[in-house]
Subunit: 185 residues, 2 copies
DNA sequence: CTATTCTGGTTAGCCTCCTAACTATCCGCC
DNA sequence: GGCGGATAGTTAGGAGGCTAACCAGAATAG
């Protein structure tokens, strides 16, 4: 999510002033929105840099985690590309490319599904699992380091507020947020 | 920031269990981290979709906002690509491509700098400004809609906690977070 | 049992983003 | 005044993301 808007977040007074010209501008909403995107982006870049030092991308890491997690919780050792795409929030076409890359690196294996000849199964290789176990401890430490400034109470608060926002984006099923905004006029 | 980890955030009990195997895993830190990335991603996608309906990308929008904002606050009507790259948090190489696209669409104009022949100046065209004024009201409404579930108090809290996290990622100047993590072992 | 429709994976083409290298220009220093 | 280092913009090459279109196989309708 690089390049969200501007790197230096505007001061609140600037937002108040801009709101005079744009009556639709809600200063506090804008401020928290910009902070959210900026903070998410920063956190994302930190872990992305860490993963890059282990020669793996965010996308590849997500796929490996999905496979490994599924395996560990007894869901079977393999998943179809469509299932992986659904779990990682990416299109099937993108998943093809990700699995290509991972397969080239020997971290993952593609095999035809014996029951349905349209389907493939993707499974993590021992090498992929080893790579993952190599990355994870640092990865966890990094998340802990990033969140260290927050007390347990503050963390609970954040999760609660995030959940509120996630319900917002998830709500109104087929109706997109744009439509909802348009309808509110 | 698409594909951050997994679409369905793990339940807290799962994190507690995983922490038994990985002593470095801080369950509450992991939980808030995942929620942060997920929420940021959702919010990002919402506005991205809205901007796409106006035939503009996040990157292009950021550039236009930087130019327009700079102009409005009396900083002059034009900025150099390097300056734009700095403000939007993108590399100079990326900015070349973004300005290319915007120039093709007639929203922006490139001109040589009269004082320094290495430099270019990028300025927003009337058409670009018109496009922006066309987008902004909906854009502001969208941010307000997304943040509507939060009270003013909750918004203040969020901004305060985000600021804490931003200080964390910005701190330790040259030293990267990875190194800090490594040093903490 | 055939025809239509649906579904899974891939391909093609585009955009954004990156790093690394290159070119042109400016600047400071001897 | 000229030479080396810094700086601005671009180019080249790669990866990830998307949509749209395609093809093979499966499911369903009649």
């Amino acid at each position: 999510m690089p390049l969200l808007m501007i790197k230096d977040l505007p001061r609140y007074e600037c937002l108040l002033e801009a709101a005079k010209e744009f009556p639709d501008l809600d200063p506090s909403a804008t401020e928290v929105f910009l902070h959210l995107l900026r903070t998410g982006d920063e956190a994302f870049r930190v872990v992305e840099a860490h993963l890059a030092s282990h020669d793996i991308t965010q996308g590849g890491f997500g796929v490996l985690m999905a496979l490994w997690g599924n395996c560990r919780r007894g869901g079977g050792a393999a998943l179809s590309p469509a299932e992986l795409a659904g779990r990682t929030g990416v299109t099937r076409a993108t998943m093809t490319g990700l699995v290509d890359t991972l397969e080239r690196a020997g971290l993952v294996l593609r095999a035809p599904d014996p029951h349905d000849r349209r389907m493939m199964t993707v499974s993590i290789t021992p090498r992929g699992e080893k790579r993952l176990r190599n990355i994870l401890p640092d990865h966890f430490r990094q998340m802990a380091w990033l969140m260290a400034p927050l007390s347990e109470n503050e963390r609970r608060t954040l999760v609660r507020l995030f959940s509120k926002l996630l319900r917002r984006t998830a709500e109104d099923g087929g109706r997109s947020a744009s439509e909802a905004v348009a309808a509110a006029r």
